[in-house]
């Protein structure tokens, strides 16, 4: 929460408008590409450029690559990501939830991958700031401590803006990857997503030391 105490409260729509304004046309195109809403898109954009100053980069760096899912979920911003992901892909008795597919651990893998586009990384991470800004305006509390119903309301509000919809869509993309990628990447442990959707993987499958990042 970065809002200064004496600053007048902003209407939630203003926050969303500002979020939208922070997205340049170039970034918007890139995000659309990443999300494959355009039918012709097949490949992800990527960059060899490394991240410079990012809002939560310190926390990201502080997280040990080897830390397991449970430890990771205690750290900021991962706790908040985990809460959002659990709303997007809940434990509802119909297949695995975000937690069971290691969605947060997988998101961390994506954001740390050498080929992940710098702008994409910034966009995903900075979304937490906007999310908490809106949560604070609506309920006076950060997202993580809201009730599930309140969290749902915040996400609904976010989805009503283009920037927010893009952010949620992006998180869903990486949830789908966590659900159905090879377990070598940290998501889909023991093929839990494949089993649920009765998806038969191909063979041979990559071992952890044969992930695509080793081929770049």
């Amino acid at each position: 929460m970065n809002r200064e105490p004496d600053r007048p409260r902003e209407h939630p729509d203003n926050i969303l408008t500002k979020w939208e304004a922070s997205i340049t046309p170039e970034l918007a195109g890139k995000l659309a590409t990443l999300d494959e809403r355009r039918s012709f898109l097949a490949n992800m954009l990527k960059s060899t450029a490394m991240v410079g100053t990012l809002p939560f980069w310190g926390a990201l760096q502080g997280c040990d690559r080897q830390s397991d899912n449970q430890e990771l979920l205690q750290l900021h911003p991962w706790r908040t990501f985990a809460a959002v992901q659990q709303q997007l892909f809940p434990d509802d008795g119909n297949g695995p939830s975000a937690r069971e597919i290691n969605a947060t651990l997988y998101l961390k893998f994506v954001l740390e991958a050498p080929d992940t586009d710098k702008d994409d990384k910034t966009f995903v991470l900075s979304g937490i700031k906007w999310l908490n800004g809106l949560s604070d305006e609506q309920f006076g509390k950060p997202f993580i401590v809201l009730t599930p119903i309140e969290q749902h309301q915040v996400l609904k509000k976010i989805a009503g803006s283009r920037a927010g919809e893009r952010w949620l869509s992006h998180l869903l993309l990486y949830i789908m990857e966590a659900l159905l990628t090879d377990p070598a990447y940290g998501g889909n442990p023991d093929g839990i997503g494949w089993q649920w959707l009765e998806h038969q993987p191909g063979f041979p499958r990559p071992s952890k030391d044969k992930r695509y990042t080793e081929l770049l």
């Binding site: 490949n43 709303q87 990559p206 081929l215």
Partner: protein, 558 residues
Amino acid sequence: MKDYDVCVIGSGAGGGPVALELARAGFNVVVLEKGPWFREEDFYKDELACCRRSVYTPNLKDEQHVIENYDGKNAKGQYKWATEATGESGWDFWNGNCVGGSSNFMSGFFYRLKPKDFSLLSEFGPIKGANVVDWPIRYDELEPYYTKVERQVGVSGAVIEHPFAEPRSSKDFPYPPTHEHPISKLVDKTCREMHLHSLRTPRAILSQPEANRRGCEYSGFCGSYGCSSGAKGSSRAALLDKAVATGRCHIKPHAKVNRLISDQKGKVIAAEYVDANNQQQKIDAKIFVVACQAIETARLLLLSTGPRHPNGLANRYQQVGRNLLFSAGGSGYGDFPFDKFGSELKARGPFVNRGLQDWYFINDKNLGKAKGGTIDFLLRHPNAIGRANNLKWDDKDKLIWGSDLKQKLRNEFTLAQSLRFEVFNDWLPTDDCFVSLDKTVKDKWHIPVSKIRIGYHDHDLVIGEYLTDKAKAVLRQMGAENVRGSVSGSPPPNLVAGGCRFGKDPKTSVLDKDCRAHGVDNLFVTDGSFMPTGGSVPYTWTIYANAFRVADVIRRQL
């Protein structure tokens, strides 16, 4: 003393046959390939590596294209073109930059052209706005090389007689068909009811082991994926490994050719390339063969200016890059619920391998006599992530999540098998589809990138619609639910040819009938660039066959 007898630039379906044949004939050959050299053991069934990250293709920030897309008409009724770099749009026109090129990642649907494809202008007459011409060779001249490809690359299949079957010099394919999916029998039964000829699609996939290559292992993940058994007939697995084994073929990966240098007489004397350490290098040879896939071949020739070639190699009459071809057509699906058609349709691994060419030539009361095309049937692509990600949008293009999304995923993935069809018809050559050099965008070596105008001819859509309707009728007759299909003028970047058409007249073509550049005796082009018209099938078999043909020409010239 030259470094090599022959320098081949590009290692895909156009380069492999030349390298193998000339190395076998005793000549020293070097192959310059821009990308890395992956082996069978590097290929896994990993959707992220294959299809969701740029692993086998360049990073679009390093190397991109500029696309000029149709953008309506101006007040005078002239076409307008919207320009966008692929680094911005993400529309990737690369198809596989590694040893073996995009043949590593093909599905290997192998169809020959038919005799009439070599003389479309004579057979069907001109089409306004299209640059249709007859080829300078006949089918009979290419037929022995189609047969050679069946053995050298390895094509499996079974000949089925039908009205438009092309002549063959051998009785049947050297390899029996690959194993087939249970739904293939339903396709056959339906086609019999409809008096159609259900063909067994020939595949560049070994159904049995051959030398160091294993037979197909039926992982169910073929198209878009590198083959880990060696069964897929990539230029790398089928040809280049054998060329290297002769001891006379040297493959240099990570060698990006930026220019061919020519002398005062106009002859090519060296290839200038950047190596893996970003060092500038040169190689000289008696003969140079360019096979970088159509778009990059045109680009390299345009970049290779010299004292006798001020507008680029072989470009005296401004023909290089013109009449670029893609494949026209469309695609669609029908769903086969397991509770109605049985759970045996869940099988993954065996191929559908069914196609129709009953409308390869059309005689229709509305269309008259016209060139038609091919319909192929296949299972929905097995990639799961892309499919799942698309389901997060509802019918009104609004995001859905939570339990609604989960139930939608479960229904889509578990209740039915989807049979897909793909339509291939001629992408007519026009003045609105061509390659040039972009004036501002450069690659990471500061070399101008290709600019591609991707205009299509309306006739392509008419024929595509006709064939799509036929394919949908077959699916409906099969009992499929939710039959849908669409036709588009958007080019499939993986089905590309033309740009350096061969012909008799240097003023209207780039290459002579032997695919030697007009006016540059030691320069040949052996990828799909030579094709003046595309035919209504995927191009790879024809590219392989023609490259074997040109290899014989080069051998005689050396």
